[in-house]
Subunit: 261 residues, 3 copies
């Protein structure tokens, strides 16, 4: 039996690691296309960085829970359509306290921020993960639930801004942006702070600098701390690459410095 | 038999939808990896947005034909290498009036704008779609057809601009850019307006802001209307994600405002 | 037997092409998912550009060795996660003088610059290529080798700059950036000039404009010539698409003009 990265890491040196792997995660990991012996056969050094540095150190850092780190990682994978690593990290997210309802909402939310095709790719993985765990309709969010109450003042300001900037070019975009903010964002299955977190993580992972400032501010309005923002960047350096994070840093710096402390 | 998103949508509520699905599309859809029941098993809400909002509303909007919406969608998928959704949308394009010659030329054209590997990925899907429909060499564009007449003044201006900006850095890039504009762009199998449309859609989908202005202007010179540009953006919001479109909007606004009305 | 792009090209017209294909490459090519007849069945023109222009002309250009062109191509494919074309170009790289140790280090290095998931995707391909050639642990770089000597003055300057710019936002990013520069970059299995070359190629391929200037300067400090930079851009136009290269050109121009000649 091939041992996978995670399974091996667990056996070898990560018994004290922050993320705890359930039997389901280990089973899923076993079916992953990348095993620790595969990595060793190409790059022992990459194996060490993945096992000791990323899973063994970064995931254990204080300042961000394994649950939130899962949310950030899953968002980056969905935003970039990286199917290969999704099964392992979807399992890890569920084991770290992300509920099936939340994972379902993350996928739906990111379909709007990364495109419906990326959402569909995530569905192909999540359906198997859910099926293997016996997660059925009763654990999923309703199609049309009662929405969270809207902050009307803030929504009016948003609508006005979008009408001014986008309206002269595309009324269709204006119309569906309203749906995005009044419907998708207000669904109760994922807390506003978590919607902001996955939005910011997806923007950084995809290098969409223009929207990071607005959404990082909104994330912090919604409860994300500066320490958590710092750890989000540390995590994304590994999952989205250094340049994505370095491009986001000056924007994050401006946001953090200009907020009332 | 699993019903797919499109097949189910057709049966359930889209009998009056703008795109009409041929038997070929339905057969292909049946073999798609994502079915409506898969989506329901992960996110009933995502299913609703895909079925009712995107296929049921957006595709029916006036201002852009289903044929052009197919062209935009196919361009976004090729530009981002999203193979999973290509079979369904290649079929839909052919059913909506895109000819095999045009689809062949779209793939070749976008190989230059998104990289040859993305073109090759599209080939792996298109060959099966063409084979299933019995589309043979007689329906494909020739390898070296008689080219469209060149607008020499406009080409001279382009060549001069590229020589000045790129020449000091890379004569190789200058040389093959000339081939791109004098050979690829002049092939008769795809109208200049459609070449511009797929170019602009690919640039927006890949966040390549620097070239959007030039090519949107060229698209409108080639006959794309402001209404069609607006609907292209509405379509891309769903297929490439909101941030890609929001980054393109100010550029599109400048182009549209500065054109003589 | 289906003939592949490369195999067919070789037989048809490329016997004098710069890259020479070993028996291994030809065997691997045979198993590629894209054959020349596949391309012909979709776009004879794309086939011609791939065969005659790219493999027949660009790869034969003076100014950059086939070995370095392989390095650039492999870097672009890994950075963008384009698995389909990796087997052929990994083989071609090994046939063109890239050692297994170097390919292993390129994958590890780019895991940091394009994200660990892209590195993992490359591992899934490289393990099969290595296995088919009987490349074992003795031909791979050690996990923790003696590192190259650090240029302490330059490293101090980098550390100071990163602490000032990144420190106020994320000490975690600062910490692991130090690891990246003091550990990963100093591994002896890939020359500093080659690390710079793959870094720059990956940044251009992924449109990460903000970091291109710094790393192109570093590449030229490490021995990359202006002619090689020019040919890198020519190669990337085909493998990453024209817009990626056009966005990089003004940055490259500034770097080249401001260097002491």
């Amino acid at each position: 039996m091939k041992k996978t990265l995670a399974a091996t890491a667990l056996t070898m040196s990560l018994s004290a690691a922050a993320p705890t792997f359930s039997e389901e995660t280990k089973r899923s990991a076993v079916s992953m296309p990348i095993s620790m012996s595969d990595i060793q056969a190409v790059s022992p050094a990459f194996g060490k960085y993945a096992r000791e540095t990323l899973l063994g150190e970064v995931w254990k850092r204080p300042g961000m829970s394994a649950r939130d780190r899962s949310v950030v990682t899953v968002a980056a994978l969905i935003a970039r359509g990286q199917i290969v690593e999704m099964p392992f990290y979807f399992e890890l997210a569920l084991d770290s306290g992300v509920t099936p309802t939340e994972l379902s909402e993350i996928i739906t939310h990111l379909a709007f921020y990364s495109g419906f095709p990326q959402g569909m790719a995530a569905v192909t993985v999540a359906k198997d993960v859910f099926a293997a765990r016996g997660i059925g309709a009763d654990q999923l969010p309703q199609e049309s639930p009662e929405l969270l109450p809207l902050n009307q003042a803030s929504e009016d300001a948003r609508a006005k801004r979008v009408e001014e900037s986008v309206g002269p070019v595309s009324q269709g975009v204006v119309e569906y942006t309203t749906m995005l903010f009044q419907d998708v964002w207000q669904r109760p299955g994922l807390a506003p702070r978590d919607r902001s977190l996955v939005t910011v993580a997806s923007l950084i992972a995809n290098g969409q600098a223009g929207q990071i400032g607005f959404h990082l501010n909104k994330a912090m309005d919604n409860g994300l701390t500066a320490t958590e923002a710092s750890e989000m960047l540390t995590t994304l350096a590994f999952y989205a690459g250094w340049p994505s994070v370095f491009s986001a840093v000056p924007i994050a710096k401006d946001v953090i410095e200009q907020r009332p402390s």
